[in-house]
Symmetry: C2
Subunit: 425 residues, 2 copies
């Protein structure tokens, strides 16, 4: 496949490249090259010409709660723990009903597609059937997703609290079934967070992580009350991060921890050693007054970081708005912490594309050998009036655009259409 258009990407943090009116060649899922002049060997071949469109890497969202897509924007006059009780848990309890689950999962996958998120790692719910439904629907959608069955066997409402052995058995069944039947959708171990999972459950999940060489996702140090709670639950383990490590849940190079706000230097050193990816969730952290992740410090230390929506702690699944909120939060934080220089827009864009996508391997930038995930942005109505550089067009799309600006979406080399029809909602 040969595409023509103007390409913009961020192959490394702090590096942005623009190829105006250039050609990108793919073979199957993979990029062969991006060329300012089309090499002679491709001359005369069919070209998809996107004209004046701007082509950028598609978004990757490494922290999102699929069932909470219905709760976007709801209940932020509360903070984390009461908000979970009042909004999050009652919604998740409804996923024992398969018809309800199927309709929400379709809305969730449609929404990701619509907003340009082609890869994701999602928390589903505790329900084995519902998780399997989401995995099958995700496979059908063409998106590339990691889906986790939530594990929780303590400090949860009766409707969601699991028997420890059943939780482990259901998890293992989903691991095996998804490995046997699915190609584009992976399973990710998903203890909700320390307060929801007993030591025995965490230990069992750690053994599954090792046995099946699985990725892991969870929450870490989101809120000060939560940190104190964890310290009280595990008085024998010095820090929150070490609780996960103790139970084998910092699977090296394969772990995502969301929030990671209130950490000691010892903890960040451990996260660095374990090559954990930290998902910074700016919108959620603002909505729930959780605190501000010292992202600049983590980036300087060389930790793996990305930005993520955390819908519905974040009020939208839209990664463009997640990017701009990350920049805005970093600027506000800079006013009171002058040593934490703010994110540039290019840096935040990197963290939402290559930064997160690295969890899936070689994807998230237009480099040879990388999988081709992209969004094609049409020129805005006002571009005819004021000439814009490709970067300014990116700025305008991220800060005040929406899905109506996206003309096409590619995931792993394939043009994707809307996964599910309107009548399916």
């Amino acid at each position: 496949m040969i595409l023509k258009g103007t390409f913009l990407h961020t192959p490394a943090l702090g590096k942005m490249e623009v190829y105006e009116r250039a050609w990108l060649v793919t073979e199957g899922e993979t990029i062969v090259g991006l060329y300012r002049t089309l090499p002679p060997r491709y001359q005369g071949m069919e070209v998809t010409d996107w004209g004046d469109c701007l082509i950028i890497p598609a978004f990757c969202d490494l922290h999102i709660h699929a069932p909470q897509i219905v709760n976007r924007g709801i209940g932020y006059d509360e903070q984390l723990l009461p908000w979970l009780e009042r909004y999050t848990f009652p919604t998740e309890a409804r996923f024992s009903q398969q018809d309800f689950a199927r309709r929400v999962w379709k809305a969730f996958l449609n929404r990701l597609w619509e907003r340009g998120t082609m890869r994701f790692a999602a928390f589903a719910t505790v329900h084995k059937q519902a998780v399997w439904q989401l995995m099958e629907l995700s496979e059908a959608s063409g998106l590339r997703g990691l889906v986790g069955k939530v594990n929780m066997d303590r400090n949860a409402p009766d409707s969601l609290r699991e028997d420890t052995d059943a939780s482990l058995a259901d998890t293992e069944e989903l691991i095996c079934r998804s490995r046997a039947e699915l190609k584009k959708t992976g399973f990710i171990l998903t203890p909700r967070f320390v307060p929801s999972t007993t030591s025995r459950l965490m230990d069992g999940l750690g053994q599954l992580a090792e046995r099946y060489q699985l990725p892991v996702q969870s929450h870490l140090s989101e809120n000060r009350s939560e940190v104190k709670w964890v310290a009280g639950l595990h008085p024998d383990i010095p820090t929150y991060t070490q609780v996960y490590d103790t139970f084998g849940l910092l699977s090296k190079g394969r772990t995502i921890m969301a929030h990671a706000i209130h950490l000691t230097q010892e903890e960040t050193d451990l996260l660095e050693e374990k090559e954990v990816t930290l998902a910074h969730c700016a919108l959620s952290n603002m909505n729930l007054s959780s605190g501000v992740m010292p992202l600049r410090r983590y980036l300087k230390q060389g930790l793996r970081c990305c930005v993520a929506s955390d819908a519905a702690g974040g009020n939208t699944a839209d990664m463009a708005k997640t990017i701009t909120a990350s920049v805005q939060l970093s600027k506000l934080n800079w006013l009171s912490h002058p040593e934490q220089t703010p994110l540039s827009l290019g840096e935040a864009f990197y963290l939402a594309t290559r930064g997160g996508s690295a969890f899936f391997g070689d994807v998230g930038a237009f480099l040879p050998g990388f999988q081709f995930d992209a969004l094609v942005l049409r020129p805005s109505e006002l571009d005819a009036l004021v000439e814009r550089t490709p970067f300014e067009r990116l700025e305008q799309f991220l800060y005040d655009g929406d899905d109506r600006d996206i003309a096409a979406r590619y995931c792993a080399g394939t043009l994707l259409s809307r996964p599910f029809g309107e009548e399916e909602r």
Copy 2:
């Protein structure tokens, strides 16, 4: 006119009222009453039934730069003063071209309509012709606007710097012409900010304010460098606020000052005495790292406040996103200033409806005798799955909705259609 639907409004700060499946009766521009049961005298009359829609007061935006609508999202890696030089001023210089101006003004008015802003106070540019064009187009749009010709005769690029006498003469001509010819669109005196206006110009504008009993809008204490600059320009006047007052530009009860971040108690006392409306521009203040207005303190003091988009310092003209950003900023600020309790969503909604609309008189809430400005919101696609209270529907619209959720817009009792056709753009 009789409307049926579910109504939600905030008649006072901290007060929210919901009328489910109720009736609102208007006569001309004005609300007669909002009734849980339709009074017998209206029985049998024609009713516009909005079914399951939620009807809320329309937005009012008291600080927006009309020419900058083309610059939404652009250039925020800069701070205020270099950003003005690089993006704002070059764009405004183009408004000497009437064809360009006409197209941008139409896009501006269309955008306000689209996003549900029915009343506004806008900075135009220095150009007499272009300002008059905007006033005429605004009149045709059906929106209710105050439009200001920008005055600037110092510290401006050659292309925008005015001769002092010409600036005053052009201003007076626009005042008289708009009073003679327009009904829905008013003129508002608009010295850009102290650094752009000589003492002689400010003095002349102060005289016009007095002679014609005119409203005034400007910028105040947005950024620390600017505050220092003003102190250097007027070493004989103790504070920035007093500079405006010295020249008669704090027209009592008729003045809007945007930003108002870095103020002394003396200044806020003066602003209170002069009944100045302070426009809090959260998105802009984050984008340009300007600082955080101590809004809670001002509200406690009883100052008149509203939230405003400040596009294109703000990255969108969308007041829904301005509201949610104001809440998010207040929560972040609360983390480092625990005495400044955060805004609730209802408070921020009040500040974008009744709070700002008060500048136009009795409008912005569904009270008898008030002008009827409203947005009709359709149920979202997911409402069929999860039952929502009217307040939760408002939350979801503000936090993750867009213009596609707005089924109809009323301004001063009239259903408004899109002001200008697509072909006009």
